[in-house]
Symmetry: D2
Subunit: 389 residues, 4 copies
C-alpha cells in the first residue's frame, strides 16, 4: 500500500498527450486506465488517429479540448511545445513503425516520452532513437508493463539479494493462441498490423511477445545476454512473420536459457511464465496468476510468496496498492510503470535525484529488445547458428 499514499496528490499532476489510441484501439485504453489508477497524469491532448477527423472524434469521446485533438503527431509536438500549458509528457501507443518518428518529435522538444514496446520496428531506428534520447533532456520510459507486477519486483529483489545463489538456468515462455488461424486475412485490426513486417518489424511473435519474455527474464535475473540460437516458424500459411519461436540463450557468466514464444498454441491466452534456477534455489512466476511467486531454497520446501504476504520484501510492497489476497492485475502493473514515470518526471522537473527504488524500463532495455528480435531472425535465417547480441 506504500505507493498509494504517495500517489494521491503529493506529486503535482503531469499534463499528458497521447499518440495513437483512438476509438477501438486496445492498448491506448489500457494506457489511459493505467495512467488514471494512481492519478498522476491529466490527459489533455491527443493525435489519436491517423486523420484529423477521426482524431477529433476520438478526442471528444475522451473529453479532450477539440483544439488539442491533432491530425498528426508532428502537429501535436509542434503546437503543444508552443503552449504555456502544453503537454509535459506523451504516450506513444501506435503500431511499432511509428514509435521512432513520434518519439523523436517529442524528445527533441523536451517532452518526456512513455512508449509502448517494442522500441521500434527495426534495429536501425532503435539505435537512432537511442541517440536522440541520449541527446535530449527529456526522459524515455518503455512500457514493458510486466515488470510492474509486484511479484516480479519481488523475484528481482530475491535474485539480487543472492537467495538463488549463482544463476544457472532461465526458462521463459510466452504462449498465446489467438493467431492459430489466419485471422489477419479476415481484417482483424490487431492481427493485421502485428503480422505486417512494415508495421511490426521483422519479428512477429518474437517482436510482439518474445521481447516481453526476454525483457522479463533479464529484468528478474539481472543477466546479460551474450548470444542466442533461434528456430523460427510461420506455421500459418501465408503469414509473413514468425508465429512461433524457439530460442536458446547463453548469458554472460555462463548461465543458460530457453525462450519460447508462440501465438499458435491452443489453450494459452497470455501464458507468460518465468523460471529461474541457481545454485541455492529456484523461482517460478506466471503472469496469469501474478500475485503468487514460488520459491524453493534448495533442500527445503517450496514456499508461496504472495503480494503483501509474509516474507514479501520492500520492492514488492512499494508497488502494491491493496492487502494480500486481493488480487492486483495487469492494469495495476501497468499503472506502476506510469507512477514510476511520474516520479521520475517530477524529479526531473524539480531538479532532484530520482528515487533509486524507481525501476522503469529504459531506452536501453528497448534497444536490447530490438537487438534480440533481429538476432533471432538472423540466427533463424542462418539455420540456427549462434549469434552474438
Amino acid at each position: 500500500m506504500t505507493i498509494e499514499g504517495k500517489t494521491e496528490a503529493r506529486m503535482q499532476k503531469i499534463r499528458l498527450g497521447m499518440v495513437g489510441g483512438g476509438t477501438g484501439a486496445f492498448i491506448g485504453a489500457v494506457h489511459r486506465m493505467a495512467a488514471r489508477i494512481d492519478d498522476h497524469f491529466d490527459l489533455v491532448a491527443g493525435a489519436l488517429s491517423s486523420t484529423a477527423e477521426k482524431s477529433l472524434a476520438s478526442g471528444r469521446e475522451l473529453g479532450l479540448d477539440p483544439e488539442r485533438c491533432y491530425g498528426s503527431f508532428e502537429e501535436m509536438a509542434l503546437k503543444e511545445a508552443g503552449r504555456p500549458d502544453g503537454i509535459e509528457a506523451v504516450s506513444i501507443v501506435t503500431p511499432n513503425h511509428v514509435h521512432y518518428p513520434a518519439a523523436k518529435a517529442f524528445l527533441e522538444r523536451g517532452i518526456h516520452v512513455i512508449c509502448d514496446k517494442p522500441l521500434t520496428s527495426n534495429l536501425e531506428d532503435a539505435k537512432k532513437l537511442k541517440a536522440v534520447a541520449d541527446g535530449s533532456n527529456a526522459l524515455f520510459i518503455l512500457t514493458h508493463n510486466y515488470t510492474g507486477y509486484p511479484m516480479v519486483r519481488q523475484a528481482r529483489e530475491m535474485v539480487a539479494e543472492g537467495l538463488l545463489g549463482m544463476l544457472r538456468v532461465v526458462q521463459v515462455e510466452y504462449a498465446q493462441d489467438w493467431l492459430t488461424e489466419a485471422v489477419e486475412q479476415t481484417g482483424a485490426k490487431q492481427a493485421v498490423w502485428r503480422t505486417d513486417p512494415k508495421q511490426s518489424g521483422v519479428g512477429g511473435a518474437t517482436g510482439d511477445i518474445g521481447t516481453h519474455a526476454f525483457n522479463l527474464a533479464t529484468f528478474v535475473s539481472g543477466l546479460t545476454l551474450d548470444s542466442l540460437a533461434a528456430d523460427l516458424d510461420s506455421f500459418v500459411e501465408g503469414r509473413r512473420v514468425d508465429d512461433n519461436g524457439h530460442v536458446l540463450l547463453r548469458f554472460e557468466g555462463g548461465a543458460k536459457g530457453m525462450l519460447w514464444c508462440s501465438q499458435v498454441a491452443p489453450g494459452n491466452e497470455n501464458a507468460l511464465k518465468l523460471r529461474v534456477y541457481g545454485t541455492k534455489g529456484g523461482l517460478e512466476w506466471e503472469q496469469e496468476n501474478p500475485n503468487y511467486l514460488w520459491f524453493t531454497p534448495f533442500g527445503e520446501q517450496k514456499r508461496l510468496v504472495t503480494r503483501n504476504g509474509a516474507g514479501a520484501g520492500a520492492s514488492a510492497a512499494r508497488v502494491s496498492r491493496i492487502p494480500g489476497g486481493h488480487p492486483e492485475g495487469y492494469l495495476e502493473a501497468f499503472a506502476t510503470i506510469y507512477t514510476e514515470a511520474a516520479a521520475a518526471i517530477n524529479a526531473a522537473k524539480g531538479g532532484t535525484a530520482i528515487d533509486p527504488a524507481v525501476t522503469y524500463p529504459t531506452i536501453d532495455d528497448g534497444l536490447r529488445g530490438v537487438a534480440f528480435v533481429e538476432a533471432c531472425v538472423a540466427s533463424a535465417k542462418d539455420n540456427g547458428a549462434w549469434v552474438k547480441v
Copy 2:
C-alpha cells in the same frame, strides 16, 4: 472491453464527496482508485476524518479545495446541498456504525449514496435506512464489490440461463487469518474497530466477511434464504465478536447450503470461494484467482471459463476491460460497482430508465446482509437452533 468504450467520457462525470477514508485508511483509498479507473467521477469534497483538522490534512493530500474539506458529514451534507456545484453523490467508507446516520443525511438531501458494506451495524438501523432510501429519490448503492468480478457475473448468468438445472447445494466460504492472534490489543486500527461491537455491530467475522460470502452466494444462485443455523466462536481470548462462524443454510425451494467465515484460519488471505451445484451441473469460483470459473455440465468434462475467453457470455464481457489472459483484479471489480453506479445516477439525472443489464447491490441486499448477521448471532445464542430470516 465493452465497458471501456462507454466509460471514457460518453457519460458526464459525477461530482463526488467522501465520508471517511482519511490518511491511512485502507478502504477509502480503494474506493478512490475504483472511482478513477473508468473515469466517471470527480472527487471534489470530503469529510475524511473525525476532526476538521485531520479532514483538512487528508483533503489537501488529495488535492481537494480546502473549503470543501469538512469536519463532519452533517456539515458536508448541509453545505454541499447548498452549493450550485455541490456533490451529486457521496461515498461512505467509515466504520459500520456511521453508515446509517451518514447515509440518511445525504439521502434526505437528494444526494446519491455509495456505501460500504455491511449496510449498518444493526438491523434496526438497517430498517430505518431502508425506509429513508425508499422515501428518497436519490439512489443507494452498496459496494459488495465481489459482485463486480466478471466471472461472478458469468456464473450468475449461467445459473439464470438454467445451465446448472435446479439448484441443490451451495457451498460458500470466506477464510482469512489476520485475526489469528489478538492484534486488536496491539492497537492495529483495522482490527480495533472491526472487533468492537459498538462500531462493527454484533457480528465479527460474520459481519465483516460472512456478509460478503452470503451476498455472493445469493447473487450468483438467485436463491432466497429461508432460515439458518449457526455455530459462532470467538476463539481468541478476550475478543468480543465472533472470529469464526459455521452456518447451515436452507433456501426457499429446497436448496441447502453451508457457509464458513473465519478470520483465524492460518494460510488464508482472502479465500472467498463459491461452489454451486444443481441437477445439471456445477460451478466453482475463487476470489484469489478471479479470472477463472470452473464449469462442469453433469456427465461431461470440467471446463475452464475465462474472462473474455471462449464461451464467456455477455454479462461478463460487459464488465471486462482487457483481453482474456491479462488478469483483472479486485480494484477492477470494485470499479465496476462505481461504473454501474454512474450509469444509474446518470440515467436518474437524465430521467431515463436504467439499463437493465446494470447490476449493483442495493439497499435490499444490504438489509438482507444485516438480517443474515443478526440471525447468525441469534441462532448461535440459541445453541444453533434454526432461525427464519
Copy 3:
C-alpha cells in the same frame, strides 16, 4: 522407501481368504491389488459371491483351488478353521449389512479380519461386533484406506507434534457426483446396494463417504467428537437414503468443524479434502493429489510438503515406497493398511508387541464411524438438533 525393504519377504506371508469381491466387484479387486503390492499375503480361499457356482467361477479366474471356493462365508469359516493350512486372515468386502455376521464368524474362530468400511450397517451390529472383537484374540482391521496416504500420516504427525498449536477449526468434505441422477433405478450394481437402506444402513452419502471424511478428520486432528448437528437431504427423487449431508461438529476441548458429504455435486469425482487450523498454523490436503500437503505456520509463507520431500517426517517415510515426485496413489495407500495389518498379524503370531508406529484403523474407529452416521440421521430427523455422539 523404508517400508519397501521390510515388505519384501522379511515377514512370512499370511494366508488370506476373501468374502465378497467376485467378478465385477470394484472393491474386492482393489483389496487384492493392495494385498499384492507389498507382498505379505497369499490369497488362498474365497467366498467370493452369493452362490457356490458364482463363487467358484470367480475363484477360478483368480487361480484359487476350487476346493477352497465356498458358497458362503459360514462354510468358509468352518472349513478353513479346520484345515492345517487354513486361512490366517480374511478380507470382508461385501455390502455393509454382511460385515457383522461375516466378521463374527471369523473372529470367533481366531481368524484375523480385514474389513471394509463402514463397520456395519447399524449401530446395534457395530456394538455387538465390538464385543465379539474384544472377546477374540484375532485382530480386527478396518480399511479406512485414506489413512494410509503418506501425507495423511505426515499431517497427523505434524498436529501431534504441536506444529499447529491448539486446534480450533476442522473443515472436511467428500464430494462426488456419480449419484446426481437416479442411476440406482437403472440397476447399476454399485448404486443399487449403496442406496438400499437394508444393505447400506440408514446413511447414504453419510455412511458411504461421510464416514471416510469423519475418520480422516479425527485421524489427523486427534480430536474426539462431542456432538453434531446435521441437515441431510435425498435430492434425487425416490432415493431412500441421503445423498447430501451438511454437518456441524463440536469436538471435546472446544474445536469446531464442518463436514460436507455429497454424491450429487457435478464436477467432483472423489473430492475428499481436509483442512485443519490451529493457533499456530494450518494444514490442507486433497485426496485427488495426495502426494502434496500444504502447511502454513501462522505469519509465515505457505509451504508445500511432499512425500519423501524436504521436511517430510518419519511417519510419512515409513509408508512411502518410491522417491518424491513419483506419485503414489490410492492403491498404495490401501496397500499400507494391508502391510500394517500384516505387521500386526505377524507380531500377534510371533507373540511380540506390535511396532507402535503401526497405525491402522481399528474396531473402535469403526464403531465411532457408525455412531457418527446414526447421530447424523438422528439430528436430521430432529430438525438439526445437536446430538451427543
Copy 4:
C-alpha cells in the same frame, strides 16, 4: 478397470528372473512391485548383485530359492535356460552399461527381456543389441514406464484421432533438483553411477531423464525426429556428464519442439511435463499429477480429461484399474508395462497374435533414445550445430 479383470489369472503366470535390484537398489524394488500389482509374474530367480554372496543375501530377503540366486547374469542365463522350470523372462535393472551384455545373454537363449532404460550406454551397443533382438524369437520390452500412464495413452489416442489437427509444436521437459550439488562426491550410490560415463554412458541428464522426455514426446505425438541442436552443461564443478540440457527439435513433416532436461533445478522433483499443439487444439500433461490431462480444442474452453472420467477413451480405460478420482500413480503406470509384456509373452507362448492394443516400448524406441543422447552430445560438442538423428 478393464485391465483388472484380465490381469487376474486369466493369463498363466510367467516365471521371471531379475538381473540387478539387490538390497538398497531403488529401481529393482519398483520393478518387483510393478510386476506384482497385476499378478502376471512369479519372481523365481535372480542375479541381484555383483557378487554371489550379496546376490544370495538379497535373494533370501525376497524368498527366492537359494539355488536360483546367481553370482552373475551369465551364470543365471546358462543355468536357467537349462532348467525345465527355468525363467521365461528376465528383468534387467542394472546400471546402463550392463544392459547390453545381459540382454544379449538372455535373448540368445530365447528368454524374453524386460529392460530398464536407456537401452544401453552407447549407440554401438544399442545397434548390436538391436541386431541380437531382431535375431531372437524372444521379445524385448523397454520400461519407458511413463508411457504406461492412462492419460498418456489418452493423449496419444487423441493425437492419433486427429483432435489436435496437424501438429506444430511439442514442448517437453523433465526437471529434477537432486544433483544441484555434487552428491556423487559423497558416495551416494544412485548419483555415483549416474554421473560416471562408464556406467551411464556419455549422457548424464540427457540419458537419465532426457530419454524419458524424448520418448514421451514421440510416443504421444507420433512424430519422428529429424534433427536436433543441443546446448549441454555440467554446471556442478567436477561433474563428468551433463546435468542440464537445452535441445531444439525438428520433426519430420515440419513440427518443431523444445526439450529441457535438468537435474539442477531447485524445486523440481520429477517434473516431467508434455505439451503438444496442433492446428486444432492443444494438450498438456504433468507426471506429478498424472490422472489429469488438459485439452483445449482451438476456440473452445479448456477441458479437464480425467482417468476414467467423462470423455476418456478406450486406450486409457484399458490400462486403468480403479474409478476416476482415485489417483493411480507411478507404480501402476509401471505395472501396465509389465502387464503388456505379459500379454505379449503369453501371445508369443501361445503362438497367437499380440492384441494390437498392447503398446509397450520396444528395442526400436530404445535405439532411438540412445541415438537421441548421442546426437545431443555431438551437437553440443559442435557448438549446437544441427545434427541429423
